[in-house]
Symmetry: C2
Subunit: 315 residues, 2 copies
């Protein structure tokens, strides 16, 4: 940095301020310094920066399985755009989990915040994390609102009124309200939770078949689940979409391949929203405030859109 300072004819302090966008530097100086730094291929050393400044500019991202790619991609993009590095922790098995929670003191020294994407934290794990003195934010179903609305509007427009909703296991019931807002009815016994697998989707159908009648549409949080629902319904002699329509909130290759109507970008949306909440918490902390949680606006236009395929049709 002192090389850059010399080359630009200013002090290191000024270079530091200029490059970080800190106030207290004239626009002219900032521009010039930035240009010199770029020409010299100089970049601030994060180690030294965070050692001196306290902030680490890094966020730990927890995922259970290397997981849903788009979720991770959405979170990573939003974090990087905000200037944070993404430290990935894959908590795939009990060993990895245990090791991670053993080493929380180290975590606290590495990151400014923690983002739990798909880690299904146990209560004691959550408590341990909360003791780390950095904000912890987990993906919630709220982060999926736009996608759910889109799916709900679609099935409603097709004439469906009573639909089943299949959520991820860590989801809470509040999602149902979004369907209600869209003018749909949600029977309590038609709000179901499923593991994010084909088998999970099949089991969901078994439950539905036990009832007195079937819904005419099913909204599934995941592509695998949607496929499971699809396969199981067909095996039972039901026609899709003749008897039952299926929408997936997970527009991956799987939905595309099998021809399932899906909301594209839903997972990315979840990631981005969660990051928004985390950034708000970080901002709050650095302002000395206490804004844990807090509403956030992705700023960006919602990146979700519905792709209609062969799994949905009029009631």
């Amino acid at each position: 940095m002192s090389d850059v300072a010399r080359a630009a004819g200013v002090s290191a302090a000024t270079v530091s301020r200029a490059l970080r966008g800190e106030p207290g530097v004239s626009e002219a100086t900032r521009r010039y310094v930035t240009e010199v730094a770029k020409r010299m291929r100089y970049a601030i050393a994060r180690d030294a920066s965070s050692l001196a400044g306290g902030r680490k500019y890094a966020v730990a991202v927890l995922t259970a399985d290397g997981g849903r790619g788009d979720l991770l991609a959405g979170a990573e993009g939003a974090l990087r755009a905000a200037g944070y590095d993404v430290l990935l922790y894959v908590l795939r098995d009990d060993g990895a989990r245990a090791a991670f929670f053993e080493d929380l003191p180290a975590l606290a020294r590495r990151v400014d915040g923690v983002l739990a994407l798909s880690a299904r934290l146990a209560d004691d794990e959550r408590a341990a994390l909360d003791g780390v003195a950095v904000p912890v934010v987990a993906v919630r179903d709220d982060d999926l609102r736009d996608a759910l609305r889109l799916a709900a509007a679609h099935v409603r427009d097709l004439g469906h009124r009573e639909v089943a909703l299949v959520l991820a296991e860590d989801a809470d019931e509040s999602c149902g309200e979004l369907l209600v807002e869209a003018g749909l009815r949600v029977r309590p016994e038609w709000t179901l939770w499923s593991s994010p697998t084909v088998a999970g989707g099949e089991q969901v159908v078994d439950v539905l078949l036990d009832g007195d009648r079937l819904p005419t549409a099913v909204v599934c949080a995941g592509g695998e689940v949607a496929l499971g629902v699809f396969l199981r319904l067909r095996r039972d002699g039901r026609d899709v979409p003749g008897d039952v329509s299926i929408v997936s909130l997970d527009g991956t290759e799987l939905a595309r391949a099998v021809g399932i109507t899906a909301v594209e970008g839903a997972w990315r949306e979840r990631g981005e929203h969660a990051v928004g909440r985390l950034l708000a918490a970080l901002r709050g902390e650095s302002h000395g405030g206490e804004s844990h949680g807090g509403e956030s606006h992705g700023g960006e236009p919602p990146s979700v859109r519905l792709v209609v395929r062969e799994s949905t049709g009029p009631r």
Copy 2:
């Protein structure tokens, strides 16, 4: 650290050495210091450590799409086991790519090495990366050897002799040799490259159908491709596995769902192998050596196994 030193009745230097497993500390001292540190919930500050020591204990992991979850999980696990943090970079679109390659100077100051998982680097990108002065390792098909052998043995045992091999686009031909070693014949025109999508798999079949005859078995590097091959063959009236057997090297949910015989753990294996090569390079560098590349042994027993489903049968 000085607190711990005081509490343990030693100097900070000794604490540092003890906690990092550096030589030059008696076992007794090390044990005691470690225990004191743990009790005080102390962890070394990475910033300060790497500022003073030069090593960053972090690796940048590049992925195109948040990608194949198991690949990432395998790499992350192996890196963390070796004491490295994983800095995730998702190069999902041109914007993200451009931003990443704009900022290479910053990368060089953050990590000790780069691991490209599924980023399909263009030549100029690869060159730019190589200019970064840290080892760069990309996942190669070599990292898939055990999986390929397993798949080859399976189809051979079923009586197949001439098989088609569908590789990822960035793969090289050497994989074919593994099939030959297994006693299979590999016609040049039956070694094919495909994008990792269902559509890619379908196109592959189109190419095969143009030939004078079909192979009796197809080994596919990816689950989506395998599904594409499967769907396209069926559409053409071929029976799977009656006419053609299909094996996927990607034992994900997709293969499970559709009933495709697959090698489970192959992606994890790839990740672990690539990390092995990167660690070797890092070790080489820190020893002052020049061992770029270099053979590595995962040490661990191979984590791959074949799961036979309905897509393979006797010739």
